[in-house]
């Protein structure tokens, strides 16, 4: 209310006042003289206010106060810095035991380790010759198995997926000799002749023929590449021979199996 009255008095002249404004100023000014006197009062007060605002204080006062402030708070700052320094660089302690040194070392380790954390390269381990041979054997076996499975689905026979897994024998000292000779690898894949009834026998021979051709075609490049890698060819032959020996299937067992299946 008081501010509203002040604004009216400062902004307007007596004759500019509306009836509402005059009613508002009723208690303050009844006539133009009183109104003007009030205007002068407020203008003078404002003038004095501006004078006070512009009045500058002596810089020596500020200087004295700054010194006082510094005296009061400088001790606090020193104490804080000392504490930090003492913590990081304690006296009478070996260099490697100082926290600052330890922190630097940890940071260094982290920086060194970061480039190796997100590498996506697959590991390439060094392989022994024995492992290579086993790998060749496993690869051949896998291909053989997949082909036989596909042949089975083609004939729609109800022959179960027999586990063709043949244990890999250990290499005997005799076989490890450089002059040791085994039969050719191709002969390993000869179809196993099992005396069956006429139909079964026909199906079986068909499967073996298909598999034999496909395997021979697909395995050949792989074997070639692996052979190049492998230095000692004689050892490989020894393994092949062993595979042949162990691939011998008992005809009676096969017959039993087939009869069960049919």
């Amino acid at each position: 209310m008081e501010d509203h009255v002040k604004n009216i008095i400062l902004e307007k002249k007596w004759f500019e006042l509306t009836m509402k404004e005059r009613m508002c100023l009723k208690d303050w000014a009844q006539n133009e003289e009183e109104f003007d006197a009030l205007k002068l009062t407020f203008l003078s007060a404002e003038e004095l206010r501006q004078e006070n605002r512009g009045e500058k204080v002596s810089p020596s006062v500020k200087h004295r106060l700054d010194e006082r402030f510094a005296q009061k708070h400088v001790h606090k700052k020193e104490l804080w810095l000392n504490r930090v320094f003492i913590f990081f660089f304690p006296k009478d302690v070996a260099v490697y035991k100082k926290p600052a040194f330890q922190l630097v070392m940890v940071a260094l380790l982290v920086v060194i380790a970061i480039p190796f954390l997100w590498q996506k390269d697959t590991p390439r381990y060094a392989m022994s010759e024995k492992h290579l041979e086993i790998e060749i054997w496993n690869k051949e076996k896998e291909v053989q198995k997949s082909k036989s499975n596909s042949a089975e689905t083609k004939t729609t026979s109800k022959m179960g997926s027999e586990d063709n897994e043949i244990p890999v024998p250990e290499i005997t000292p005799e076989e490890q000799q450089p002059g040791f000779k085994i039969k050719s690898f191709e002969k390993l894949e000869e179809p196993i002749l099992v005396p069956l009834n006429a139909d079964a026998y026909e199906v079986e021979t068909e499967i073996h023929e298909d598999v034999e051709i496909e395997i021979a075609e697909q395995i050949q490049p792989e074997i070639q590449s692996l052979k190049e890698v492998q230095g000692d060819f004689s050892k490989k032959r020894a393994v092949e021979k062993r595979k042949k020996q162990h691939k011998h299937v008992n005809p009676e067992e096969t017959l039993d199996l087939l009869t069960v299946l049919y």
Binding site: A37, L38, A45, R49, K62, L65, K72
Partner: protein, 196 residues
């Protein structure tokens, strides 16, 4: 030791006081910039227009703030607090002056014999009242004058004046009304042609 720099100009008085208590020198500078001249003017006006004395009192007030920042209650407005403290300092000084005047056999130490031959009454008049408004204010009772000065010269609100003087806002309003009317009537007598 903050990571980001604080813009002290945008901080409130209360926040600046908190920072100052922690040893922030820039906060102190900002508080000083906001209140130094106001306080100096307040003291000068209250202490018979003695500028040097006003500055000394202002120095003492800020020294108090530096030494014992805990005196300020952060829940209160700093503006009203600092004016209250200044007002109390003036009241204490009046008491001291009263004691001194008694010991000086009624002669005020402010009125000294000067080189010019003006009578003491005129010296006092010249020294204390530099404008018509101040002359008019001098005719007021202290309680009315104080309210008028705080409201219109120092720019405090009615509520703030009430807090500083520890009186009710209604009392402030009535005193203000009386003081304004009285000053207006005196000014009308002094220089009625000044109004444009």
């Amino acid at each position: 030791m903050g990571i980001f720099r604080v813009n002290h100009k945008k901080q409130s008085d209360e926040q600046l006081l908190r920072m100052m208590a922690k040893g922030d020198e820039r906060a102190f500078d900002e508080v000083y910039q906001r209140y130094a001249s106001k306080m100096a003017a307040f003291f000068t006006r209250k202490l018979k227009h003695d500028k040097e004395k006003g500055e000394d009192f202002m120095h003492d007030l800020f020294a108090k703030l530096i030494d014992r920042p805990e005196l300020f209650d952060p829940n209160r407005s700093f503006k009203t607090w600092i004016y209250s403290v200044a007002n109390n300092m003036c009241i204490n000084e009046y008491k001291k002056m009263a004691v001194r005047s008694n010991t000086n056999n009624g002669l005020s130490s402010d009125l000294q014999v000067s080189a010019n031959n003006l009578p003491i009454e005129e010296q006092l008049f010249e020294k204390d009242f530099s404008s018509d408004l101040e002359k008019a204010m001098a005719k007021l009772e202290e309680k009315h004058k104080e309210v008028f000065v705080l409201r219109h010269i120092d720019g405090l609100s009615v509520k703030e004046v009430a807090e500083v003087m520890d009186i009710k806002p209604g009392t402030v309003k009535s005193r203000l009304f009386y003081a304004t009317k009285k000053i207006a009537s005196v000014l009308q007598v002094y220089d009625p042609t000044k109004v444009s």
